[in-house]
């Protein structure tokens, strides 16, 4: 199972995704980026059925970009983006072949200057959370978050907490997930940072 974790801190949202792309018993790739940038302050991270995931994420990406163009470079807020994604998945679940995609949407609302993390699953379940994860990694990470998370943490403190999660996953996960890519969404926009 792929790993996607996210948490909001005082001045931004941190998202981490595993680098391994697996199929069956093989690791096909060790530099797979399971995120797509939607607009300058919104990022989607995804897991699920391979094929569905990228197709869906890029469909969302295209539509959000289209919205940005149509609305004269006024970008959708994290809440609006998350609602759009949820709506797509909620429609999809009752179709002949539903997208089997779970996602975290990391965003920073430039109007209210608040970071946000949206947890959305393939059924169309949507909640805003201070921290969250999908799949098995949720079982390992939520307890660590529950104990150590504070909502006024700095980005550095957030990254320290993330490091604890990744260490735990490395210790407990049965397969090597080849490390994680870490991206930060804040007032400045979206950036990737070095993380081992």
């Amino acid at each position: 199972m792929d790993i996607i974790i996210g948490l909001t801190v005082k001045e931004g949202t941190i998202i981490a995704t595993s680098k391994a792309a697996t199929r069956g018993i093989s690791i096909l790739k060790d530099n797979d980026d399971k995120t797509r940038q939607l607009n300058s302050h919104n990022l989607i991270a995804y897991t699920g059925e391979s094929g569905d995931t990228v197709q869906f994420a890029e469909y969302i990406q295209a539509n959000i970009q289209l919205s940005t163009m149509r609305e004269n470079e006024i970008e959708l807020s994290p809440k609006a983006v998350a609602s759009f994604v949820r709506n797509q998945l909620a429609t999809s679940i009752r179709s002949r072949k539903p997208y089997q995609v779970n996602a975290l949407i990391g965003g920073y609302d430039t109007k209210t200057q608040k970071p946000s993390l949206s947890w959305v699953d393939y059924l169309g379940t949507y909640v805003e959370l201070p921290y969250g994860a999908h799949g098995y990694s949720a079982f390992y990470c939520t307890s660590l978050f529950d104990k150590h998370y504070r909502k006024d943490m700095t980005i550095d403190e957030g990254l320290k907490l993330l490091q604890m999660c990744v260490d735990e996953l490395n210790r407990r996960m049965p397969i090597d997930f080849k490390g994680v890519y870490v991206k930060i969404v804040d007032a400045e926009g979206i950036r990737q940072i070095d993380f081992n």
């Binding site: 949820r86 909620a90 947890w119 059924l123 379940t125 949507y126 909640v127 969250g132 949720a138």
Partner: protein
């Protein structure tokens, strides 16, 4: 469990008192055994004194709350008044029955006061919109068995608002504590002639 109505868990209850009603829900949203959110309210306001409790599949809870927001907003524009509980109950019923052969997996309950007569009104539904009118209380969700036991034993007619609050709170609190899929906080609305009071309860966190 792959039963759609018990993937996320959750419970809601409504009660009638003397010239007042109360509606309450828990705050948990889970993914099977894993708790995901402790801030997922299942009670929504759709008129001045019209409330809807929605348990079941969280995706459908969100979808339906949005559908009813749309419909009640359009209603208000056409009628220049907010929707009555009775009317809203029929709206819920017909909306659900539209999806008779591919239903929303939810258990709605309605509670409110009639704006003209101030008469309390509560009712519940099955997932395809069959209305269950009740004089006393309505329960819904994964803790419905427990809620039936609590309400049937604690409830008495014609309670004053404060006593109704205590009764519905104790009923919900003790019911969700015996259900692994419900709990993680509760919210209670007490609706009287001249005000609506919302209270968030401190509860066990397991």
């Amino acid at each position: 469990m792959s039963d759609p109505s018990s993937i996320n868990g959750g419970a809601a209850v409504a009660m009638v008192g003397k010239d007042c009603v109360a509606i309450a829900s828990d705050l948990r949203l889970g993914n099977q055994s894993l708790g995901v959110s402790n801030n997922f309210e299942k009670v929504f306001q759709f008129g001045d004194k019209t409330f809807l409790g929605l348990t079941g599949l969280a995706s459908d809870v969100t979808t339906l709350s949005q559908v009813f927001r749309l419909k009640t907003n359009l209603y208000k524009l056409r009628e220049e008044r907010s929707i009555e509980p009775q009317t809203f109950a029929n709206l819920v019923s017909s909306t659900l029955y539209e999806k008779r052969f591919g239903p929303y997996f939810i258990g709605p309950i309605v509670a409110g006061l009639d704006s003209k007569t101030d008469k309390p009104f509560i009712c519940g539904f099955d997932l395809i919109g069959c209305i269950d009118f009740a004089k006393d209380f309505i329960v819904s969700g994964t803790a419905s068995d427990q809620l039936y036991g609590m309400c049937e034993s604690l409830y008495e007619p014609n309670l004053e608002p404060e006593d109704l609050f205590e009764t519905i709170s104790q009923a919900l609190l003790n019911a969700v504590d015996r259900d692994a899929l419900s709990g993680w906080g509760c919210v209670v609305y007490v609706i009287t002639k001249d005000r609506v009071v919302k209270r968030v309860l401190r509860t066990r966190q397991d």
